[in-house]
């Protein structure tokens, strides 16, 4: 499993099941072999899976009751949070104007939503594509952060801290950087933590804990052996400056 989400507003866990082309929602306190409370699966969903790595990530917008699933070819599927069964997506972001390269987003892209500034951010091939939150069809991104100064890198999951419009995402070389949702072009991050330099780990997933002003990172080796040899780790950084 490369991506999942916790919905703090509705107390739910949302996970993908790529090999069965499904999105599962569990109670937030689910434990053991507890069945999901909702399953999105079936021919109308347009959800795919391997070998193109569709349905590899999932993101949640609790404020607007929506679930985002990157899919192939080159698309982001948007479902109602309460969707259950063989349900069609309510929006599909797809087309040459989106900036999603063919053969596509391949599910390796990941999505974060800022319900305050009303934007959708897609981390795709070392770029951050910023769309209107309700963008649909062949929409152009409002702004794109990419380039050598930006250092933007791909990652399994990233976050937007909506109250301040900060995008917290990966940088080349294993750092974590922070950009504004209003940034555009080859813009360096406002802040960064050189995680790999400090720890030997490269993060694959990010989440935020605003209450404790912390950033949490998952690290799983990522094609290189960490210098102390322990492949799997969860790191927590205090980062009050971004909250």
């Amino acid at each position: 499993m490369h991506g999942f989400a916790f919905d703090n507003m509705h107390n739910e866990i949302v996970v993908t099941s790529p090999l069965a082309q499904a999105v599962l929602t569990f109670n937030g306190d689910a434990h053991g072999e507890e069945p999901p409370i909702r399953v999105i699966q079936g021919p109308h969903t347009q959800i795919d899976g391997p070998p193109n790595l569709g349905n590899d990530r999932v993101s949640i917008d609790p404020a607007n009751d929506e679930i985002y699933v990157p899919a192939v070819p080159s698309s982001v599927l948007v479902f109602d949070r309460m969707a259950n069964g063989d349900v069609a997506p309510k929006r599909v972001l797809h087309g040459p104007n989106t900036g999603f390269d063919e053969p596509g987003i391949r599910g390796m892209a990941t999505v974060a939503i800022d319900p305050v500034h009303n934007v959708l951010v897609v981390n795709h091939r070392n770029s951050l594509l910023i769309f209107d939150r309700t963008a649909s069809g062949n929409a152009k991104p409002l702004r794109v952060i990419t380039g050598p100064k930006s250092g933007v890198a791909s990652i399994s999951s990233f976050q937007v801290y909506a109250p301040k419009g900060w995008i917290v995402s990966a940088m080349q070389g294993g750092s974590i950087g922070v950009w504004s949702v209003n940034d555009n072009g080859d813009v360096p991050p406002r802040w960064k933590i050189p995680v790999n330099q400090l720890t030997g780990y490269t993060a694959s997933g990010i989440d935020l804990d605003p209450a404790h002003k912390e950033m949490l990172l998952s690290c799983a080796g990522q094609r290189s052996r960490p210098r102390d040899g322990i492949a799997n780790a969860v790191l927590t950084f205090s980062w009050p400056e971004i909250f």
Binding site: L19, A20, Q41, T45, V116, R190, D209, A231, L235, W239
Partner: protein
């Protein structure tokens, strides 16, 4: 003095199940980190009330209708600031959660040399022990005779170890990223380079060798298949034959075993089914063991299927066959047991024998090896950094004959397999980690 926040950590498994790792286990880990020489560095959070708010253990866990995203933030919306030079923060992590001990995913026994090989999925190593090693209560962890580990080994995300009974070659199957099977000489140690590498399909899981026909079998999770290669295959060599297709009823295939005497191939399946060419074709089926001719090829139907609630199959992992009896041994991960079927079993049949219970020491067993020469069956336990061995015909709540233990006694592992993602549950102040 900074008060460490009170946290729980949740570990989510692949697929649907979610496990809770209680705070006590994490605290034991924390205390261990704090109290002894270690590879792990855990730094205290900076002494600043702005950084960390101590959290009461009695803090209510509730969700109300007024609880929403913005109240969680606790601050008004502020537009993003003007750009400026990047500010670099070279601060160390406040906390690191990780397991310093090996976590064993697979086991193989070399009867000729009286050695046991354990595949470690946490430190990316292969550890070699005497077959008769036994970590008794009150003794320190078992010392490995040698360890294959390092960048040159290309051992990573490893799911299966196999020992060639003739020349002692050590095979390691990788389940992610590199898509290779690497082979080492029997005496390899340290940061050894493989003597052979074979590129295989992504998501390879298990392997088995047919010495008589000089070929070896590799199971692949998805698209579910069994590839059969020439013994000694390397590089980009293609399989001699491929069992794949809808008629095979393979689905998210994991463990595999062969019975060369009865000419049978066994594959266990988790039941996640989809046609990759058809979005929306996915569905869930029950787990199963599908049984084929040893020479099965192409889109060939199984001879029979073991499937149904009586079987107890629950995320089955590795399998091993006793060629003398034909019995099929299954490491039944989420069932917390080792289950044994007779060779001709079919349909919704209960296991002939089950090793399960508090005396067994089993904890999320995923690796298994039937050592027919010594009449023993081995298991590796993801949950507690051990390998345990039982009499081959054991049944019920049986204590292990011996234990290889690579952590302090009683330690529960974090069960980290691949910590690719995480999510933070602000309601319970828990970290969810899938593997």
């Amino acid at each position: 003095m900074v008060t460490r926040p009170k946290r729980n950590f949740v570990i989510a498994g692949v697929g649907a199940a979610v496990f809770l790792l209680g705070s006590s286990a994490v605290e034991r880990l924390w205390e261990r980190f704090q109290g002894s020489a270690r590879l792990v560095s855990v730094e205290e959070v900076p002494d600043s009330a702005e950084c960390i708010r101590p959290v009461s253990e009695d803090a209510p866990v509730s969700v109300s209708s007024t609880h929403n995203l913005f109240s969680d933030f606790g601050e008004p919306s502020v537009e993003a600031q003007e750009s400026g030079p990047t500010v670099n923060f070279d601060r160390p992590p406040a906390r690191i959660l990780r397991d310093t001990a090996p976590i064993y995913s697979s086991v193989a026994v070399d009867d000729k040399r009286n050695e046991v090989f354990l595949q470690d999925n946490n430190l990316w190593s292969i550890r070699v022990f005497s077959r008769l090693d036994n970590a008794k209560p009150g003794t320190p962890p078992t010392e490995a005779r040698r360890v294959i580990v390092g960048n040159n080994t290309e051992v990573q995300f490893n799911s299966c170890v196999y020992i060639d009974p003739f020349n002692g070659d050590v095979y390691s199957v990788e389940n992610d990223i590199g898509d290779v099977i690497v082979t080492f000489q029997h005496d390899a140690t340290g940061d050894a380079k493989p003597i052979r590498k074979l590129h295989v399909t992504h998501r390879a899981y298990a392997m088995a060798m047919d010495e008589q026909n000089q070929e070896f079998f590799v199971s692949v999770q998805h698209p579910p298949q069994v590839a059969v290669y020439r013994r000694g295959a390397e590089g980009d060599e293609k399989p001699k034959r491929l069992l794949i297709g809808e008629k095979t009823q393979l689905s998210d295939s994991h463990g595999m075993a062969i019975d060369t005497r009865r000419k049978l191939l066994f594959v266990d399946n988790w039941g996640n089914i989809a046609d990759d060419n058809v979005p929306g074709s996915g569905r869930f089926g029950p787990p199963s063991i599908t049984v084929y001719r040893l020479e099965a090829n192409g889109d060939e139907a199984p001879l029979r299927i073991i499937q149904g609630p009586k079987t107890g199959l629950d995320w089955p992992g590795a399998m091993s066959v006793d060629v003398d009896t034909g019995d099929l041994y299954v490491a039944n991960d989420m069932g917390q047991d080792l289950i044994v079927f007779h060779s001709g079993d079919e349909g919704d049949v209960a296991p002939a024998r089950t090793i399960k219970g508090p005396h067994t020491g089993l904890s999320y067993p995923v690796g298994i090896f039937a050592d027919t020469q010594n009449k023993e069956v081995w298991a590796t336990n993801i949950g507690n950094s051990t390998a345990t061995v039982y009499p081959l015909m054991a049944n019920g709540d049986v204590a292990p004959l011996r234990i290889i233990r690579s952590a302090e006694e009683g330690k529960q592992s974090l069960r980290f397999g691949k910590t690719q993602a995480l999510a933070y549950d602000a309601i319970r102040e828990q970290i969810l980690v899938p593997n």
